[in-house]
């Protein structure tokens, strides 16, 4: 009789060195995070802004809500599209942990599909029927969309926590909801929500500042920038606190691994902490973002860097959680370098094509009979 609940490694092996797939997993997850932050944080922020703005067309918060959701109906598509690649690579590298976790939370995991679909179409319903300019309706659709995406985030956090703690699977098999009792569950969920809110607010600020500096609806864009900037400030402050809470809630072995991992783990962690504190200082320096566009641009760049660095730390934490179970279980490697090369070339060519297409589109404005 086998007491080990962890399924065996896939007999097919890996078609490339594990490190290559780890890099691809982190890189594509980072891409996914950018759009995910806009989707989750942007929709939550839009729901709050719409509510506070009373759904009125003239209110700066209601306009912000409409702006965020105009982006989000496209952003949600890109969130899902960019999410496909990390989902692929995690199934490749951690299949026995990932699938086991999703099976233990099967209905919850499956409900993700329904929640995504509902959240997505609710966002479109808000866009088409609920824009403030069209009479102030649609708040309910927006709130529903925000709720759905919040639940999707909650499910992802739960699955992640289960996947990295195989020692808890036997208990979870009889009651998967106990994962919610994990002390790090709520801080971890909050970490994602705050990151989303902060990033979406910062992007909204950056855009409003840009428009105001171009002389477009200066008063309105200045009000939007000031309001969104306050959200950047408060969410960053809370994020720093929550980040430390999360750090201290790590199991001892994981914390030890993080601290004793040398430069590989300490540099990204230290950088993440420094960037968090630095962001807080940058944001706190001004209440007039329109007057300091360089500061806003710098803050946005710093936040992008922070997200990239946190993606690395998050990946390292998963490896440390699973270290006792993966030790000595190396997958066989049967490299397919030709296929990797083909993928790399196509990835570069694909991204270049997208960039050239967008450039051509931006360079080809037209109206009336000349327009498509």
């Amino acid at each position: 009789m086998n007491p080990n609940l962890i399924p065996s490694l896939d007999a097919a092996g890996l078609p490339g060195p594990p490190d290559l797939f780890h890099v691809l997993l982190v890189f594509t997850f980072f891409l996914h995070l950018l759009f995910m932050n806009l989707t989750l944080g942007g929709t939550l922020l839009a729901a709050v802004a719409h509510h506070l703005g009373g759904g009125r067309g003239g209110d700066h918060r209601a306009v912000l809500a409409a702006r965020l959701m105009a982006i989000n109906t496209y952003g949600i598509s890109l969130t899902i599209s960019t999410g496909v690649a990390p989902l692929l690579f995690i199934q490749l590298l951690y299949q026995q942990y990932f699938y086991s976790a999703t099976i233990l939370l099967a209905w919850v995991w499956l409900s993700l599909l329904a929640l995504l679909t509902l959240g997505y179409y609710a966002a479109y319903l808000y866009k088409f029927r609920g824009l403030p300019a069209r009479g102030g309706g649609g708040g309910l659709w927006l709130a529903a969309s925000a709720l759905m995406f919040l639940l999707v985030a909650a499910i992802h956090v739960a699955v992640h926590l289960v996947s990295v703690q195989p020692e808890r699977w036997a208990g979870l098999a009889d009651g998967a909801w106990s994962v919610l009792a994990d002390p790090s569950y709520l801080p971890r969920l909050l970490h994602f929500v705050l990151a989303g809110l902060g990033f979406a607010a910062l992007v909204a600020t950056w855009w409003a500042v840009r428009r105001a500096r171009e002389g477009v609806e200066v008063e309105l864009n200045t009000a939007i920038a000031a309001w969104a900037w306050r959200w950047v400030l408060w969410t960053t402050l809370l994020q720093v606190v929550d980040g430390f809470v999360l750090l201290f809630l790590l199991p001892q072995a994981v914390m030890r691994g993080l601290m004793l991992g040398g430069a590989a783990t300490l540099v990204p962690l230290a950088l993440a902490i420094l960037l968090g504190l630095g962001l807080l200082m940058m944001v706190a320096r001004t209440t007039d973002p329109v007057g300091q566009p360089a500061l806003v641009g710098g803050t946005l760049a710093a936040m992008l860097l922070a997200i990239a660095v946190m993606s690395i730390t998050r990946h390292q934490l998963r490896a440390l959680y699973l270290a006792p179970f993966t030790a000595g279980a190396e997958p066989t490697v049967v490299p397919q370098w030709g296929n990797f090369l083909l993928f790399a070339v196509l990835l570069v060519a694909g991204l270049a094509t997208v960039a050239l297409m967008l450039r051509r589109v931006l360079a080809s404005p037209a109206s009336g009979a000349e327009a498509a």
Binding site: S77, Q91, L112, G350
Partner: protein, 510 residues
Amino acid sequence: MDYPIWDVALGGGMLMAIVAIPHVIVAHFAIGGGLLIAVTETLAVRRSDFELRELARRSSLMLILVSTVFGAISGVGIWVVAGLISPAAISALIHTYVWGWAIEWVFFILEIVAALVYYATWDRISKPAHLLVGWLYVVGAVMSLVVINGIITFMLTPGEWLASGAFWDGFFNPTFWPSLVLRTGIALMMATAFMVFVALRASAECREALLRYLGWWLVAGCVVAYAGYRWWEAVLPDTVRNLFRGAEPALAQLAATRSFALWSLTGALLLGLLVLVLAPRLARVATAAGLALAAFAFFGGYERLREGVRKPFLIHSHLFSNGLLVSAIPALNESGLAVRSGWVARGGEDEAQLGRALFRAQCSSCHTLDGYQSIRRALPSRADLSALAAAEDAAQAMRVFRSECAACHPGVGAEEMRGMLPSTDELRQDPEMIADLNHGMITATLLELRDMGEAFTAAPRGAMVNTAPLFSPYMPPFVGSDDELEALAVYLASLDRGDEPKPTRNGKLS
């Protein structure tokens, strides 16, 4: 087989169908629709045809709402469901073709971005720039199809890959090109099926011309799909084709599915010719719905056939649908499954509990207890055997004989079989006799299923296994030790008395 098992009353296969069928319809619409919209806009620009342009514009809204929203989510949904119901199987597929999927993802990104830009830039950018975006969408969508087609066809006809294990041997497998032609035709059919609804909303004076235009596309789609289908059928290995073709197909149900699919295609073609090409004034929402249904029915029928002839494999002759590798059969028969799987081992020493764990690990990817493909209904029951022994109702006795006995006792008639059973008096004196008989029948079936494993193992590597002559061509073999076989028999026999071990909360194994 060493993963935890999710008990889903609906049945894993049914759940997959619920997610996958709408996805493939939408995904093929995304490809054919993209092509048709790009062609339509190109023609509209060349001819300065406002109505054609409107057809393209309105269809593009449907394209992004249906394909970039529902298509993207349901595409992820297929992985989600596959991971829940057949984790080892989908893991094996991903490990084999991860670079294929990674490449497909690149084209998918191009497709999604182009679709969103295309829709968002109507009336805002120049015509050439807009057309460029539309055609880039077509490139992304068609290349996605090419890649996914390679992986899907590999699952049914792995070809040289079985011997070489080489990526491209499996990708450009025997059914790759026919399937690509077939799916191109299907994509055009799906596109017209959706776009007809858009054309019906055009102004009265232009509606007929637009419908006739779409009608020709539909006819082309039907013809291409039919050619692709016949080509696909022709290149299938004899052992696979004979499952549903010939005077006595091994799987009559699949032969019926084939007929259904081809008649549906004929229906779609006739409807398209009549209502769209010849008499577009007859076109209504109801006829458009009928046309869409016929097209979906053909597509659904073909997919059902393709999945059906692949059973019991996920990757033909290599990996069974329950995650069992052909190469792992001897070792698992030697050691038993509980030694390899902690989740099966949780069944413990109790025979019925261990049997239940084995059932869940080996059978539940296809069978539920009482829902889809109910195992309880598939097993012989004591009531049936009693009816056969008593023979008070001749028709019922014959039905029981046919369903429960004839397959294993081909040379024995119903009367002779009845003579082999205990008499009614004997059963009255010892009611347990019928339970023992039931248990014995189940054990005999499991032994046959385990013997099938030897046939799979003995088959030459590198060639596709002919499943038709096997005891149960649809099923994977049973694997496990003698004790495990007995435990599974005890559990299955217990189902008849309605006292199977009860699941704990959440349906999980206690």
